[in-house]
């Protein structure tokens, strides 16, 4: 696990930024905070887009923040291959809206916000992250209104072939089926990973202590921090 600094971006309306900073702090990782109007990410080669309601989730979740100045820097860093990116919940929505990850996050199938503990499993091992082995399970909370991963069927099939479908909702034993689908995501998709860009709807930064419900979020973040090939 590298101890190089991780940048956490705050957009107006982000509200999981402090929790994310604290979670990384628990792992002993230095954090630098970045503001949505900043035009660069400084020295940081890893960046987290935290959860929340950037711009109130107005228009579509993540749509307005995706056009913020700092996102030019994120896009550059991805294009040049020097940046590793994690989008959590609203951060995932921002990455999709920016086109840095495929697909869109539509309203949950019942149209309602949902905050519950769920199980997710690694569906496909992401190329740069050896510690996310297929089948590894995490118990993590979700808290979103727009989390139904959607895109035209043929394109989702292509994502499976590419190995981009990273996380799926599942049962406690790892079984995948619609009964474990909390929001109507196609194929129970909970997270996507393409190249060095990863996004997921669940909140690892909240599952950081047994007394908060689970420590799996620390495991998750540790695995994310252990990316290879920088």
């Amino acid at each position: 696990m590298s101890t190089e600094a991780v940048a956490v971006i705050t957009f107006p309306g982000s509200n999981c930024d402090d929790d994310t900073v604290m979670a990384l702090g628990r792992l002993g990782v230095p954090v630098v905070r970045r503001w949505y109007r900043d035009r660069d990410l400084g020295e940081a080669r890893r960046v987290v887009l935290p959860g929340g309601f950037s711009y109130g989730d107005y228009l579509r979740s993540g749509a307005l923040a995706a056009r913020a100045p700092i996102m030019d820097a994120v896009e550059d860093g991805v294009a040049t291959g020097r940046l590793t990116v994690l989008g959590i919940c609203n951060g995932f929505q921002i990455l999709c809206e920016r086109g840095l990850l495929p697909g869109a996050l539509r309203p949950n199938r019942d149209g309602r916000f949902r905050c519950t503990w769920e199980w997710v499993r690694v569906a496909t091992a992401p190329l740069h992250w050896p510690e996310f082995r297929p089948g590894t399970r995490f118990r993590l909370p979700i808290a979103h209104r727009e989390g139904a991963f959607t895109l035209p069927r043929a394109e989702l099939d292509r994502l499976w072939q590419e190995g981009a479908v990273f996380l799926q909702y599942c049962g406690p034993d790892g079984a995948v089926g619609d009964e474990y689908n909390p929001n109507g995501s196609m194929d129970q998709v909970a997270g996507i990973c393409r190249g060095r860009v990863m996004g997921l709807m669940p909140h690892p930064e909240r599952a950081v202590a047994a007394y908060l419900g689970s420590e799996d979020g620390l495991r998750f973040l540790r695995a994310w921090l252990a990316s290879e090939g920088e």
Binding site: Y55, G56, Y58, L59, L64, R67, A68, P69
Partner: protein, 83 residues
């Protein structure tokens, strides 16, 4: 029975605050599209209606809009039956 395509356009009443529209306007401005001076967000509902004629299709769509689709406290609606 014929089938009609009916479009219901739902808008916030003009005096009601539209924070989402404000936020969108702010971002368009930042993106350099300064010519956009105001933004108001509304909703669009496309219905397929089975009815005897265009007038009864309209009546059904209006009932749906009044009773369910639009919120009369905050919104107004217009119904258009496509030819």
């Amino acid at each position: 029975m014929n089938r009609y395509r009916v479009v219901v356009a739902i808008r916030l009443k003009p005096e009601v605050l539209d924070p989402a529209g404000q936020a969108v306007a702010g971002v368009l401005d930042q993106m350099g599209m300064t010519g956009v001076e105001s933004v108001r967000l509304g909703r669009l509902v496309d219905l397929e209606v089975a009815a005897d004629g265009p007038e009864s299709a309209r009546a059904l769509a209006e009932a749906a809009a009044r009773r369910l689709l639009a919120n009369p406290v905050l919104e107004t609606f217009e119904v258009a039956v496509e030819p």
